[in-house]
Every structure is written in C-alpha cells, then in structure tokens.
Amino acid sequence: MNTNTMIFSPSPHLHTGRTTPGAMRHVLVALIPSVAAALYFFGLPALEVLLVSIAACVATEWLITRYMLRRPSTIADCSAVLTGVLLALNLPANLPLWMVVAGSVMAIGIAKMAFGGLGCNIFNPALVGRVFLLISFPVAMTSWPLPSAGFGDADGQTGATLLSRISEGAVDPATVDSLQLFLGNIGGSMGEVSALAILIGFVYLLTVRVIKWHIPVAIAVGLVAVDLLAGYPPVVDLLSGGLLLGAVFMATDYVTSPMTSRGMLLYGVLIGIITASIRRWGAYPEGMSFAILIMNGATPLINRYIRPQRFSPRRKEVPA
C-alpha cells in the first residue's frame, strides 16, 4: 500500500464547480442582447466606445497589479472586462473616447483597486466611472445620439433623453409610446435603451442562477410605489432611463449588494424609492446611478442589521 499518493484535506471534499469567473462570464453572456441592441441602434460609435472601455479597464487593472501592487495579474477573473462592458453601456455612444478612458481609469483604478481589488470595493466601479464622467463632463454625458437603427442613417443627430424632456416639461409622460420604449428606439445610454434586451439578460441570469430575483423586483416595487403616490405613469418610469439596466446588472453586483435575501429586498426597495424621488423631485432627470451608489454605501449597514433568520429558536431550557 503506497500511502504517498494520498492527499489529506478537510471536509467537505466536494465542490459545486461554480466559480467567480464563471459567474462573471454568465453576466457577460446575459449582456449580449443589450450590446447587440446598442450596436444596432447606435452603430459604429457604440462599438468604439465599447472596445475602448473594455481595453482601458483591463489595461488599468493589469498596470496596477503589475507595477503598483507587484502581484499576479487578476484580469483573468473577467471582472475588469465586465466593468468595461457595463461602463460602456452606461455611456452615450458619441462620448469622446478619451473621456471613456478617463471613466475606465476612475472605475478600475479608484473605485476598485484603491479599495483592495475584487471583493473589497464598496461602490460599484462602473457606476463610479459613470458618475465621475457625469459630474465632470455634464454636457457630453447628456447629449445623446438619437438611435439610427440599421447603421445607415448616421446623420449625427443628438438630443436629450426622454426623461430630461419630461423633466423640462417638453413631453407629457402620459403620451409616451411604451412599445418604442420597450424595444429601445429612443435616445439614451448605449445599454439602457432596449428594455427587451435587458429583460432577456435578466431571464438568462435567473435561469443560470447567477442572480436572484429579489433586488430587481424590489427596485421595481419601490419605484412603482412612489410613482403611484406621485401620480406618474409607472410603466414609462420603469422602461425609461437606466432603471432596468441598473436594476438587473448594476444593483445586483455581488460585491456591493447585501448578503441576505431580506437585506436584498430592503436594498432594492430603497433604490427604487430614491430613484423615483430624484426623478420626480430632484435636479437630475435620471437618478438610478445615484440611488445605487447611495445604497452601495448602506450595504455594510444592511448586512450588519438584517441578519438571516436562524434555524433554531434561541436557546431555551433544555429538558434532559
């Protein structure tokens, strides 16, 4: 009996086989419809923004691990690629590419790596990148190319999003064509325009069990609740702006969202309420990014106070 080949290890000796890079890849797959919709509606500029964003995010992470931290590279875990895609989908397709690079460096360099890398960041990196750009370059970040489906009609038209036009009083939300909103034939960030594409991704993520339903559904509930109180059409609110993209892909980010199902529900409802409140009564026409970032900050607190319900009732007198 040769005992040299026996390996000692503590239990459990089996593993689910799921991996974190695997989860990241599932999210990337789930984003394919949204990316396709962005390319369809916005054409070549969208592809440029997407590729530059991915390249800049991955390069930033690689440079920081290689030359500042002097650690093995972590780009193989796919999380930088995912941040790149998500950031691009949160930008207008005609944003100058150097701004895309600046946003990527902010997202990976400051929001993620400065906090300690994957798993240690408090705020969603892609959203930090987006908000950084929004505050620094408000004009470039809020002039959106109008969708020109089919790559042909690239006449360089730009305009405000539906939400800002409603906010300015130029459009009555009650007259908005919900079907066009649902399909994505509207102005907006690359990834947020097509609700249909996002919902396909949502169904995929639920099917492969990478995310749970709690956060996106709770966000919708919170938003609709405020809309009903404010007398605003909830369907238009749900389908417009970054709400769906944020609810499905940004707010569900593992690292920056709560650990328990009940915590997720609270987190989601509050994101919905904050978003609707900013949209109705705030200075910005769009509030999703801020709402998610605010609740990212509240997540450690939620984890501390919303504990899972224990199996056992607390210790009682034991009859022996």
């Binding site: 390996i7 503590p10 239990s11 974190t20 989860a23 199996f311 056992s312 009682k316 009859p319």
Partner: protein, 441 residues
C-alpha cells in the same frame, strides 16, 4: 409536495452509483479495536495480553453510563493492548486480536451460518411483545450498540428515557443524504423486515407509540421494501422526503418530519422526538433477537474506482481499511465516511470502526486555489442553520472568537454546505471550525 427542511441546503450530485448488494468481506486475521469508537468515555479492557477470546465475547466494558462496550469480532488471542494509528494518523489505545488459520476458518463457517438464517425475511412479531422495556435496553447496552449514522452516540443512553419524560415520535433516519454512500440504502433493500422489527423493539424500549422511517425520494426501492415489511399492528410509517443535503442532520430531519424546530443547543427530545439511524435499528434487532453484539457493519466502498468495485461490504469491526477490495487511484483522497462530512485518511492500515459508514476514494486534490470573497451570499443561502458562514469564517481567520460566539457559531453542524457552494472556493468551514472550537465557553 414532499416535505423537506425549509432553510438552506444544497443539491450536490448524488453519485449513488455503487451496487445495492451487500457482499461479505472476509474476516481479518488480525483485528485492531480502538477503545474509543463512540462518543463518551472510552471503554475499559476486560481481557489482557495472551487471553484467548471467541467471536462475540466482551473484551472491553463501558466505563460509565455514556460509553459503550466492545466485543471481539474474531476468535483468537489478544496479542497486545497498545496505541494504534487511526485514519487521521493519530494514535489511540486499542486491543489487537490475532486469529490462527483454524480459528479463522471456524469463525467464517459460524458467520456464514448466522447470516444464512438472516436472509429469509420471515418475521417473528412475537419477539418485541415478549420482552420488557428494561430487558431490551439491557440487551442493547450489552451489545455495545452506538449510533451507526456517524455520530456514534451510545444507543442505550438515547433509548433510556428518564422517568416523567415522554417522547411522541421515534424518527428513523434513512436519508443517507451524503453523496456516494449507499450502506443504509443497501441495508434497507436487503433486510427491510429486520429493520422494521428493530424499530418495533425501539418503540417498546422507549414506550413511544409512533415511529416514522424517513428517507429521501432518491431511494424508491428502499421505501417500497420497507412499506411492504410494515406490520399494521404498529404505528410505523415510511415517509419520503424531497432530496436535499443535509437532510440527515438531526435538526433538519426532525423539522422535515414534524415541522418542529429544535432550539439552539437542545436535543430532539425537547420537541418530543428521538432520532436513530436505520442501521442502528438493524443492529438493535440483531442484538435483541439473535444475541449478536455489534461486531460487524455495512461499509460502502465507492468513489473514483472501477464500477465493479463500488459495493457494500458487511465488514467486521477492526478490519484494516486496506483489506477492503479496491484499487487506490493515483493521487487521491481516501475519505472515511461520505465526501461532505467524512474525514480524509492519511493511513489506510487503520481499522473499520463502529462509525465507519464508507470509504470514498476521490481522485485529485479536490480543492482549488481560494479566490477573494465576492460577497455573493451563496454560503448564506446554503447554510441550513441560518448562519452567516462568510462572517463566522472571517471571525475564525481573524481570531475574533467572542464575536463568533455572539453570531451563533455554536449552531454550526459542520455540514460543509457553505464551502461546497462558494464560487471562490474559499475554505469557509475550516475557519468556522476554528471559531467554533475556540469560542466554546
């Protein structure tokens, strides 16, 4: 909708590929018998070096109430009483018996005759009626029976209810929720009537009017065999539960069957239940009806070995694991028990003990390189006790044992669902074990 426990749980691949047959592993020529094969005080030898012993003879007696006796699984001579190596590599005091060829041959003949009488499934229902409760418990005590599901708690203790304490339900654990293992399944399929009679004896011993044999819905053959063996004179039912790990955990099983949750640190008796393994019921029947003490048990040999080697063996306690018929894969983990809660062995010359349900041989190192925690919450969702494994694990790693205690680390049953489900392959349970041990008051 079938019942199961409500909180957490996981669905690892079952890998229940071993045969349901029970083959007879030849008796060893040398048996190694550690004095501590159960929870409680080690037993005390009543034989000394050079003594002749016969198969079934008491060789060590229980030293206190929570303890169990030990019997000779083979006839032979006590060659020494000295520390021997356990599967973990640690030494433990043990009695070593060596048999001559003649003794071995006559033992094998007697053993074959004994099991031949067991094969016909003719039931003798008069048995449990003719014995008093005290007599049944006395025979269980005298046979050195312990819980055969793995916890090895002395059975006579569990079945001796203090005066005034009433239990309402006797639950027989046939879940075998561990992947790979099939020893209980095989036993239920092979001798269902004997198990049912063992249950009847346990009911008589404890005065509990109602019993439920609980198994998972991945064992339809065993469920049918048991149902066919039931006697309408007794309130025994077979309950099929929705398969989920760790259903065989005592608290999970009591909840799945009765809907009641046992308080932290309390016993099943606090909600009126007593839980025993089906293999224990079989051992009780053997002891009470045939007089054979616990000297052999069913061991599953399974894992990444050829299909024809994956089988169950009726094995004498004290048989070295290496005598079981298997070819050790290159670079493997040899796990005593199932792959979720079993311990990996460093030595295969260690013996089969009362709690040894199987030997699972798994290829490869098993563990991946841990990645950073991404706070996905998979461990929280998996934990059947409603704990926060990620947090307890961090407390263990940072030696924050007071905080771990306040976060109810003592509730952890070490089922490993957290480590299993972690996509970052973090050794969650390893650190929780440290926190659990060090935070104990």
């Amino acid at each position: 909708m079938k019942h199961t426990f409500r909180k957490g749980g996981i669905h690892p691949d079952a890998h229940k590929t071993a045969s349901r047959r029970i083959l007879f592993q030849p008796l060893p020529l040398t048996a190694w018998l550690p004095l501590s094969q159960h929870i409680g005080a080690p037993s005390v030898p009543v034989v000394k070096k050079g003594d002749k012993v016969v198969r079934g003879q008491l060789i060590a007696e229980n030293s206190s109430f929570v303890s169990a006796g030990l019997h000779a699984p083979i006839s032979g001579t006590v060659s020494s009483i000295e520390p021997v190596v356990m599967p973990s590599g640690k030494p433990a005091q043990a009695i070593i018996i060596k048999a001559s060829d003649e003794e071995h041959a006559s033992d094998e003949a007697a053993r074959a005759a004994y099991w031949d009488t067991m094969i016909p499934n003719v039931t003798d229902r008069t048995l449990s009626e003719s014995l008093t409760s005290e007599e049944i418990v006395k025979r269980i005590l005298g046979a050195g029976i312990v819980g055969l599901g793995g916890a090895t708690f002395p059975s006579h203790v569990k079945l001796s209810l203090k005066p005034g304490i009433k239990a309402e339900i006797l639950i027989l654990n046939g879940c075998e929720c561990e992947p790979y293992l099939m020893c209980d399944d095989a036993l239920m399929c092979t001798w269902p009537a004997r198990i049912v009679e063992g249950v009847e004896l346990m009911m008589k011993a404890t005065g509990i009017p109602k019993a439920v044999i609980a198994l998972e819905d991945n064992k339809p053959e065993a469920a049918k065999a048991l149902r066919d063996a039931l006697d309408p004179a007794y309130d025994i039912s077979v309950m099929t539960l929705r398969t989920k790990y760790p259903q065989g955990g005592e608290k999970q099983l009591v909840e799945a069957v009765t809907g009641r949750r046992i308080a932290s640190g309390a016993l099943p008796l606090s909600v009126g239940a007593i839980v025993n393994n089906v293999a224990t019921a079989f051992a009780v029947w053997q002891a009470v009806a045939t007089g054979q003490p616990l000297i052999e048990r069913v061991v599953t040999v399974t894992g990444d070995i050829p299909a024809e080697q994956q089988c169950n063996y009726m094995t004498a306690i004290g048989t070295p694991l290496s005598e079981l018929p298997f070819t050790l894969p290159e670079e493997c983990r040899a796990i005593v028990g199932g792959p979720m809660m079993g311990r990996s062995a460093v030595r295969l010359d260690a013996p089969v003990m009362k709690g040894t349900s199987g030997l699972t041989l798994l290829k490869g190192k098993g563990r991946r390189q841990p990645q950073p925690c991404v706070r996905c919450g998979a461990c929280v969702d998996a934990c059947p006790m409603g704990l926060e494994p990620y947090l307890l694990s961090t407390y263990g790693r940072l030696r924050m044992f007071d905080e771990a205690r306040q976060a109810d680390v003592a509730d952890c049953l070490e089922c490993g669902a957290c480590s299993w489900s972690c996509p970052s392959s973090r050794p969650i349970l390893d650190y929780i074990r440290i926190a659990k041990q060090r935070s104990r008051k």
